[in-house]
């Protein structure tokens, strides 16, 4: 079970019961007592509880504000990106040359590349490049170009010229929208042309998006999903029609079902 969910459950439990014992929670949530204690420390910092010997007591009710709830929705999104990145990581092997297009899911992937050997990453996203400077074993190639402030990435003809110097064996494309007839779209024309160029310079392509992408279309079209890729990774809560359509188009659909709680 993911930390965010666990904290939510602990909060609910405390609101109901006003107090808790670490050992009981550790058994029921299938995590070690140390993990529960760490969660409690976090909740104590938030002013939600006061820790006691072997447990915790809820602070007065008015400390539970709307803030907690809004915070939770952000957490949920982050969890979702993280789960998608977990699947993507399984597709990356030692010695691979990959490209991560700009975006938050690809940033989550970058954060998880620590245990791969001899990896080369090409990216147009400054945040991804910065993140990867923490892992010395990964060779990072940051493309040049004009900085787009909102995405903190580079685009334009310089970027595409740079890109054409490389050939990657796996390209991870983060997209913004997928229509009901599986047209893939992104939010800017620069991004669309960058992705189109990178597709030509790649052996295998993997499309990434959250389930939100299936509810909306962006304006700039990259192409038909089935022409771009035979693999897509998305959230587990995408709608049934999209699932069926993707399967019927012979595309491998990975969803980030992160349900099994044991890591053996």
């Amino acid at each position: 079970m993911f930390a965010i969910e666990r904290i939510k459950i602990i909060k609910n439990y405390l609101i109901e019961n006003k107090q808790l014992e670490v050992n009981i929670l550790s058994k029921m949530l299938n995590v070690s007592e140390v993990t529960i204690r760490r969660d409690l420390e976090k909740l104590e910092r938030e002013g939600f509880i006061t820790r006691t010997h072997g447990g915790a007591i809820l602070n007065s009710e008015d400390t539970i504000s709307n803030e907690d709830i809004s915070e939770n929705t952000n957490y949920e999104e982050a969890t979702d990106y993280n789960d998608i990145a977990d699947i993507a990581i399984e597709m990356i092997n030692d010695d691979d040359v990959i490209m991560l297009s700009n975006g938050i899911i690809n940033l989550s992937i970058a954060k998880k590349l620590t245990n791969k050997n001899n990896l080369t990453v090409v990216t147009n996203d400054i945040l991804i490049a910065t993140e990867l400077t923490n892992h010395q074993i990964v060779k990072v190639i940051l493309l040049g170009g004009v900085i787009d402030h909102s995405t903190k990435s580079v685009f334009g003809t310089i970027t595409i010229d740079n890109l054409n110097l490389f050939y990657v064996n796996k390209l991870f494309i983060e997209v913004n929208g997928i229509s009901s007839n599986l047209d893939v779209t992104v939010s800017s024309i620069n991004m669309a042309s960058l992705i189109q160029a990178s597709i030509k310079n790649s052996n295998e392509r993997i499309v990434l998006c959250s389930s939100e992408a299936f509810k909306k279309n962006s304006f700039y079209k990259i192409g038909k999903l089935s022409e771009i890729t035979d693999k897509i990774i998305t959230s587990s809560n995408i709608d049934d029609n999209s699932k069926t359509e993707i399967f019927n188009n012979n595309i491998q659909l990975f969803t980030s079902i992160n349900a099994f709680e044991d890591h053996l």
Binding site: N30, M91, T244, F247, N248, N249, F254
Partner: protein
């Protein structure tokens, strides 16, 4: 010969988004045997159900003796002389053999007051048994017979009927050689009487032996219809192997670990013969074979439902005697049986109770179940597996089969089982649920659990499994690694052994 007894013209029938019968054209002639072969779920049974009046058609027509017919029910079809024998027998268990054989002829009497001359029927039954060399007591109750014997009685029942068209749907699957010979002599007598026989089977030898025409069906379409003399075994296998789907299966290449399960010389009377195999951590092992190949028995045996097995089951290096499901569960083995609604769910309980039914120990403290934690943890599973509508108080019996299947999976995942035996996990469920099931499998092996996937869907086996075993008559006849497995090889091994 030139005018078919029964024809289907451009018949279409829509079932689901995934499956429909498309433009079925078939001609069946009097005095001939027409075999239909195809994978499971290819549409064989659907065609039969249309001919025998269980399903109606969406479009196209059915022509009997040159006239279009429209059957609204099974009895409509019977009135026109169309009879069907399938794997489900429809005999009266508390009546004797001879009463059953002639039970259909009773209704032919004009008046309900006319008496039935039972003694005469009994006599006729003796003659019938003589004719076919059947060694059964005509007075025995049906309930005392075993399954192949019941099938035989069903056959005799249509033999004495006034049927003009007889559909035999996988009748031979449980038969030994002796019973098969009886079946073949019944068929040849029916042929000489001018009856038209539609024969459904998996077994190529039988087709060559008895039939005049052969049609091959795949994914709801007839892909070949020929005289049997013009077709070779290899042609049949090649045609059966035509795959329309490529591989939309979410399979990750996970590094396999140590052996977690070793099965050594497993023996179950009449079902499994010296079965040995190993399963590694994070592995998806496919097991396939024909209906009675022993594939389901193997699953049942590893889950402790068959306690008279011989052989060794070793889990994580320790020999375990698994003679009950609770032994199996303690050893971390979970079974998703075929037909979960019958075999694995508590129909009368709600969603939450079903999902937590294998994990109650986890939520207990001081003899008390923590309802609110149960509620939250169950909620998390329902959300992740997209179980819909997903209200925890919903009664499980109202859920679709896809959702029920996911409930059983959620139940075992929550109980932290480590070896999952999934028997036909995606049969008959919608595509969206299928994708959820496949991704659950991926989630499990990614985190170090292992999966035995028993399936008759060869595309699924090829798409999901690291390794595949083919069972025939209770024996492992072949093993294929992911990179060497093809549909053709698997089907050929499953059929020929």
């Amino acid at each position: 010969m030139n005018i078919p007894k029964l024809s289907l013209h451009n018949v279409n029938k829509h079932f689901t988004e995934d499956f429909s019968l498309q433009d079925i054209n078939l001609d069946f002639y009097s005095g001939q045997v027409h075999s239909i072969i195809g994978e499971n779920a290819s549409g064989k049974s659907s065609i039969i159900k249309i001919i025998s009046g269980i399903f109606s058609l969406d479009s196209g027509e059915m022509i009997l003796d040159g006239n279009p017919v429209l059957f609204k029910s099974v009895s409509d079809a019977r009135k026109s002389g169309i009879y069907c024998v399938s794997h489900d027998t429809s005999l009266f268990p508390n009546l004797s053999i001879y009463e059953n054989i002639f039970s259909d002829t009773f209704s032919n009497k004009n008046s309900i007051f006319s008496t039935v001359n039972l003694e005469k029927l009994r006599q006729k039954c003796y003659e019938l048994f003589d004719e076919f060399n059947i060694n059964l007591n005509v007075d025995s109750h049906i309930s005392t017979l075993n399954y192949p014997q019941k099938q035989l009685i069903e056959l005799l029942k249509v033999y004495v009927s006034s049927a003009k068209v007889i559909i035999l749907d996988e009748v031979s699957s449980s038969f030994t050689l002796v019973e098969k010979n009886t079946l073949f002599s019944i068929i040849s007598k029916l042929k000489s009487r001018g009856v038209c026989i539609i024969y459904i089977t998996h077994i190529i030898e039988e087709i060559k032996m008895i039939s005049d025409q052969l049609s091959i069906i795949s994914q709801g379409k007839i892909i070949c219809s020929k005289d049997v003399i013009n077709i070779t075994d290899d042609d049949i296998i090649t045609l059966l192997s035509v795959s329309i789907r490529k591989k939309p299966y979410p399979k990750l290449n996970i590094k396999l670990g140590e052996n977690v399960l070793s099965v050594e010389n497993l023996q179950v009377q009449n079902s499994l013969d010296n079965v040995s195999f190993k399963l590694k951590k994070s592995e998806i092992l496919g097991i396939t074979g024909l209906i009675d190949s022993g594939r389901s028995v193997l699953g049942q045996c590893l889950f402790g439902n068959i306690n008279s097995y011989k052989g060794k089951i070793v889990i994580n290096g320790n020999v375990k005697k698994i003679t009950s499901p609770s032994n199996a569960i303690e050893s971390g083995i979970a079974l998703l049986p075929d037909y979960p609604s019958l075999n694995s769910l508590f129909e009368c309980l709600n969603l939450e109770k079903n999902i937590t039914s294998a994990s109650l120990k986890r939520f207990e403290s001081h003899k008390y179940l923590h309802e609110d934690i149960i509620y939250d943890v169950t909620g998390s599973y329902i959300k992740k597996l997209n179980i819909k509508p997903g209200n925890q108080r919903d009664k499980i019996s109202h859920y679709s089969s896809g959702n029920q299947q996911k409930v059983v999976l959620a139940k075992w995942m929550m109980s932290k089982a480590r070896i999952y035996i999934l028997n036909e996990p995606t049969r008959g469920i919608d595509i969206a649920s299928k994708i959820d099931v496949y991704n659950c499998i991926t989630d499990l092996v990614r985190k170090g659990a292992s999966v035995i996937l028993i399936s008759s869907d060869i595309d699924e086996i090829l798409g999901m499994c690291d390794r595949t075993l083919v069972l025939t008559d209770g024996k492992i006849v072949a093993e294929f690694h992911r990179n060497e497995a093809t549909k053709e090889k698997i089907i050929s091994k499953a059929i020929h052994g």
